[in-house]
């Protein structure tokens, strides 16, 4: 019979040591394993999140690219096709001017003026639609062309103010900023029924602050609209890491505020 008084056999001691060691190993291994598993899982989730973000960014990029390409095509068509046709019309009018009695000359001259104006309009329109031209001229020159075009149309009085030292911006961002402003301006023209438009570019030390105000009818920002213009502006602003705000109230005009950091991550 076993008695508690007798000393343990060496085998028994070894067995105890063995079990303790195995259990210890198991415990340590389990902990390490769980930690490693967690780490791997987190890494995986992070990778997936980043892939998703990258995908979104690429999607937005390609959308922009398609839009730019479309605009460029339209610009080419306008410049090369419609522009040429109008030039031909102008020549025809010149021929007509010489072969008709003098009583019609006044009217024909007027028509000629209109045709020439149209050619001019189309030229400047194609200039701001084609991003190569925008790139070549730079943001400020293109903005001036666009605002002049509005002035010539006679609907509203547009003015541009620039403060601070002009800092060159990378061209991709320049295009995007210009497109945001273009979208806003065309909305002003189409919907706001404004008589005055004021654009202010403020070059600060680290950011470019752009604000554009009109004195039009305004709109309720809480209402959802069908137009994709607002969303396009927003997604473009996100693309260049700019802060973007539209403030508007019915009867109080609309204000666009854009704050672009020069050192955006892209």
């Amino acid at each position: 019979m076993l008695s508690d008084r007798e000393p343990l056999l060496p085998q028994e001691k070894l067995l105890i040591v063995y079990f303790i060691a195995v259990l210890l190993f198991f415990a340590v291994f389990a902990i390490v394993f769980v930690v490693a598993f967690q780490r791997r899982k987190n890494k995986f989730l992070k990778e997936r999140y980043e892939a998703e973000k990258r995908y979104q960014r690429e999607l937005a990029d390609s959308q922009i690219e398609i839009q730019e390409q479309t605009l460029k095509n339209i610009a080419w068509e306008l410049h090369d096709n419609v522009g040429q046709l109008l030039s031909v019309a102008n020549i025809q009018l010149n021929v007509l001017l010489n072969s008709t009695p003098a009583t019609y000359h006044g009217q024909i001259q007027e028509t000629k003026g209109i045709v020439q104006e149209s050619v001019q309009e189309i030229r400047s329109l194609s200039k701001v639609l084609n991003n190569d031209v925008v790139l070549k001229n730079g943001l400020l020159a293109s903005l001036n062309v666009e605002l002049d075009r509005f002035k010539r149309l006679g609907y509203l009085d547009a003015s541009l103010k620039i403060t601070g030292d002009i800092i060159p911006i990378n061209s991709a961002s320049e295009i995007i900023i210009f497109r945001i402003l273009q979208e806003f301006l065309s909305n002003v023209l189409k919907h706001a029924r404004a008589s005055k438009l004021f654009v202010h570019l403020d070059y600060k030390e680290k950011t470019l602050e752009i604000s554009a105000n009109d004195d039009g009818i305004g709109f309720d920002t809480s209402l959802k609209t069908d137009s994709s213009g607002m969303e396009t502006m927003m997604s473009r602003a996100v693309l260049i890491n700019a802060e973007y705000k539209i403030i508007s109230e019915i009867g109080k005009g609309t204000q666009l505020y854009l704050n672009y950091p020069y050192k955006s991550t892209k």
């Binding site: 085998q11 195995v22 190993f25 791997r40």
Partner: protein
């Protein structure tokens, strides 16, 4: 295979051509088994070392191999167990050591994409079999000096059953592993296929 030779060795000593060894320390086959055990543990450990790519774990395993070898040589020389029973310290250290290398292997598996195809990797089956076998049998090897019908027939019976059972289990797992991995292109490092 080896154990079979050990078995025949004892048989030949008892009533065969090795009768002259009777009465010498080489009478029973423990000395042979003990040398085999040391080599077997080292083999398992180095087998799993093949599949490790982390330099740190490889150096740890190399160092522990040397320590283990020194310990077992010391036990052979000084414990006096070499001829009369399985050496307990070698068995315990060896089992823990195999456990360690398998743990390293599993951690590496977890960190790599191979874990997605683990059912097609041969070392995984080997590791499961080896782990179960060594953990289950070591307590019996510690008590191997009681393996005698004159001391405790009940223990002999239990010992036999457990050793047979774990052996069946071990080799069934190996066979299953070999069969499953038979058609895998590279069973050692199965590629992810998605």
């Amino acid at each position: 295979m080896c154990s079979e030779i050990f078995g025949w060795y004892a048989y030949f000593v008892e009533n065969g051509f090795l009768y002259f060894l009777k009465g010498t320390p080489f009478e029973s086959n423990y000395w042979w088994a003990n040398i085999y055990t040391v080599i077997s543990y080292l083999f398992y450990v180095n087998y799993f070392k093949w599949y490790l790519s982390a330099k740190k774990s490889v150096t740890i395993i190399n160092r522990v191999s040397i320590v283990f070898l020194i310990f077992s040589i010391l036990e052979i020389l000084f414990s006096g167990d070499f001829f009369i029973k399985f050496m307990p310290i070698t068995n315990i250290l060896g089992t823990l050591f195999v456990f360690l290398s398998i743990a390293f292997y599993y951690l590496e598996l977890l960190k790599s994409d191979q874990i997605l195809q683990v059912q097609k990797s041969l070392p995984f089956y080997i590791s499961v079999g080896a782990l179960l076998f060594h953990l289950c049998t070591t307590p019996f090897f510690i008590y191997s000096s009681y393996y005698s019908n004159t001391i405790d027939p009940g223990f002999v019976n239990l010992y036999k059953q457990v050793i047979f059972g774990t052996n069946y289990l071990l080799y069934s797992i190996y066979i299953a592993g070999f069969l499953i991995c038979y058609r895998t292109e590279n069973p050692y490092y199965p590629k992810k296929s998605f």
